[in-house]
C-alpha cells in the first residue's frame, strides 16, 4: 500500500469536504509543507490512530512531525493493519 496515497486519503477525510484538496508529495514533508493547519493536524492524527487501532491513551503521547512519522509511530502501536487504502478508510469515511 502506497503510504503517500494513504496519507492523502486520510487528509481528505479529516478536512472539510468543501476545502480545496491538498496533498503530501514526500514522506519527509512536514504538516506545514502539506498545508495542514493546527486543527487539521490534530484531526489527521486522531484519524491515523483510528485507522491503525491505536488506543487513545497511547495516541495522546504520539507527536509525529512529518508524514513519514505518522506511519512509523502509529504502526508501532497498531492493533489493526489494513491491507488496502479502501480498508483503511472504510471506518473513517463519511
Amino acid at each position: 500500500m502506497d503510504k503517500l496515497e494513504l496519507f492523502n486519503a486520510i487528509v481528505k477525510q479529516a478536512r472539510p469536504a468543501s476545502f480545496d484538496e491538498i496533498k503530501a508529495n514526500s514522506l519527509e514533508d512536514t504538516f506545514a509543507d502539506v498545508g495542514l493547519d493546527s486543527l487539521d493536524t490534530i484531526m489527521v492524527c486522531i484519524y491515523f490512530a483510528e485507522v491503525y487501532g491505536v488506543s487513545e491513551e497511547i495516541a495522546k503521547q504520539l507527536q509525529p512531525q512529518n508524514v513519514g512519522e505518522c506511519f512509523t509511530l502509529y504502526q508501532k502501536h497498531a492493533t489493526k493493519n489494513p491491507e488496502t487504502i479502501e480498508q483503511a478508510i472504510k471506518n473513517i469515511a463519511f
Binding site: 468543501s18 490534530i42 471506518n91 473513517i92
Partner: protein
C-alpha cells in the same frame, strides 16, 4: 438598506422514535443516521447536521459570487458549549452514548471558525448563546451588520445537539416536555389548545444566507424573502425559566420589530409562533399577539418536527417560507377545537407580512418580520 434571504437549507424530520433507555424515557424526532460516524468518536451530532445543511450548492454560491462589502458568519448555537454524549446525573447506557475524540470542536466558537472558513467569511465570526431565540437573534445581528456596518452578506447556521443525553435529562428534570410517562396518561403535543399541549424534542438545523440589496443586484441572486427587521427583548421576570402571563417579553419583541421595520400592526397577516404548547407559553404568546396585532392567522411547527431548540427560530421560519411558496399555511397539529386564528385547519397564504417569533430560557424573546411577496 434592504436585506434579503437568498439561500437556505433545512434539516428536520417528522418521524419519531421512543428512546426508552434514558433516565427520562421520551419520544423524539430523531435521525439515527446522524450517529453512524458519531459512534466511532470521529464526528459529532451537530457537525453531522451542519454537513447536511452547509451544502456544496450553497458553499459554491457564496464562493462563486463575491460581494463588494464584508461577509460574516454567525453560529446560532444556543449556548457556548454543546452538551456532550453523557448526562450529568443518573446516567445509564443508551443509544445516545458516544465519546467525541475532537472535544475542542464542541466549543461553539471554534466550530464557528471552522465553518466560517468553509464559506471564506473572514470579516466577522460570532456565536450566539440566546438559547432557543438564537436563530432570530442572529437575524437581528445580520440586519445590523448589513444596515450599519458595511456588510453585504451574513451566513447564519442554526443548530445544537438537542438529543444529547444532558439536554434530554435537563428537559426531563424540568418537566418542560412530554415524556413517555406523560404519553401514557394521554398527553398529545399541540399548542393554543384547551385539551392537548406541550412538545417533544427534535433534531434539526438550518443554514441561511442574508444579503444586501447591492449584493443581490450584483450577482442577480434569486430572492426568497425580504427581512424587514428582527428584534430581541427581555421581560421583567425574576424567574429565568418562567414566562409572564401577559407576554411582556413577546410584546416588547414584537413592538421592537414593528418599529424597526416601520410597519403598522395591521400589516402583519401571518405569524409563526414559538408555539411550544406549554401552558405558560400558550398564555404568554397568545396574550402578546392579541395585545400587539390586529387580524392574523398563526401556525406552529413544533408539533410537526419537535422543538429543535437553537435551530428552531431560523428553521421554522424557513419551513414556513417553503409552505408559503406552496400556497398553504399548515394547521397546528392535534388541535381539538375549530380555530381560524391559531389554525386548526390549513389556510391559504394571506396577503401581508409574516412575523416569526421565538423565546429562549433566560427571559429572551425574539421577533422577525419578513415580506414574502416578491
Amino acid at each position: 438598506m434592504k436585506t434579503y434571504l437568498t439561500k437556505y437549507k433545512t434539516l428536520s424530520t417528522t418521524d419519531t422514535t421512543v428512546l426508552s433507555d434514558l433516565v427520562y424515557p421520551q419520544r423524539i424526532h430523531w435521525m439515527p443516521e446522524l450517529y453512524t460516524r458519531v459512534k466511532t468518536g470521529l464526528s459529532y451530532v451537530p457537525h453531522e447536521m451542519a454537513n447536511r445543511v452547509a451544502t456544496k450548492e450553497i458553499v459554491d454560491y457564496v464562493r462563486d459570487n463575491p460581494v463588494y462589502g464584508k461577509t460574516a458568519f454567525l453560529l446560532a448555537g444556543g449556548s457556548q458549549g454543546w452538551a456532550g454524549g453523557k448526562a450529568k446525573d443518573q446516567d445509564r447506557p443508551s443509544e445516545l452514548d458516544y465519546t467525541y475524540k475532537m472535544g475542542m470542536l464542541t466549543m461553539t466558537n471554534i466550530f464557528a471558525g471552522r465553518m466560517a472558513s468553509i464559506f471564506e467569511a473572514y470579516d466577522y465570526v460570532a456565536t450566539d448563546a440566546s438559547a432557543c431565540a438564537s436563530g432570530i437573534k442572529c437575524m437581528m445581528d445580520a440586519k445590523n451588520l448589513i444596515d450599519n456596518l458595511g456588510f453585504d452578506r451574513v451566513i447564519i447556521l442554526a443548530l445544537e445537539d438537542p438529543s444529547s443525553k444532558m439536554t434530554l435529562e435537563f428537559f426531563g428534570q424540568t418537566k418542560a416536555n412530554i415524556l413517555i410517562a406523560d404519553e401514557e396518561k394521554g398527553a398529545i403535543p399541540s399548542a393554543f389548545d384547551s385539551k392537548n399541549s406541550g412538545f417533544i424534542i427534535g433534531q434539526g438545523a438550518a443554514l441561511a444566507v442574508f444579503e444586501s440589496e447591492r449584493a443581490v443586484n450584483k450577482n442577480k441572486s434569486y430572492v426568497n424573502a425580504k427581512l424587514l427587521s428582527a428584534w430581541i427583548s427581555a421581560e421583567q421576570n425574576s424567574n429565568p425559566i418562567g414566562q409572564r402571563a401577559d407576554g411582556q417579553g413577546y410584546q416588547r419583541a414584537i413592538r421592537g420589530a414593528l418599529d424597526a421595520a416601520k410597519v403598522i400592526p395591521s400589516a402583519i397577516k401571518l405569524v409563526k409562533t414559538h408555539g411550544t404548547g406549554t401552558l405558560t407559553n400558550n398564555t404568554a404568546e397568545k396574550n402578546a399577539l392579541k395585545a400587539t396585532l390586529d387580524s392574523f392567522i398563526a401556525t406552529s411547527y413544533k408539533q410537526h418536527i419537535g422543538h429543535t431548540v437553537a435551530a428552531s427560530g431560523l428553521l421554522e421560519t424557513c419551513l414556513l417560507l417553503d409552505d408559503v411558496r406552496n400556497g398553504l399555511v399548515p394547521a397546528i397539529k392535534n388541535r381539538t377545537e375549530e380555530d381560524k386564528v391559531f389554525l386548526s385547519e390549513p389556510a391559504n397564504v394571506p396577503d401581508g407580512l409574516m412575523l416569526s417569533l421565538a423565546a429562549g430560557m433566560g427571559n429572551i424573546y425574539a421577533a422577525a418580520i419578513f415580506d414574502y411577496r416578491l
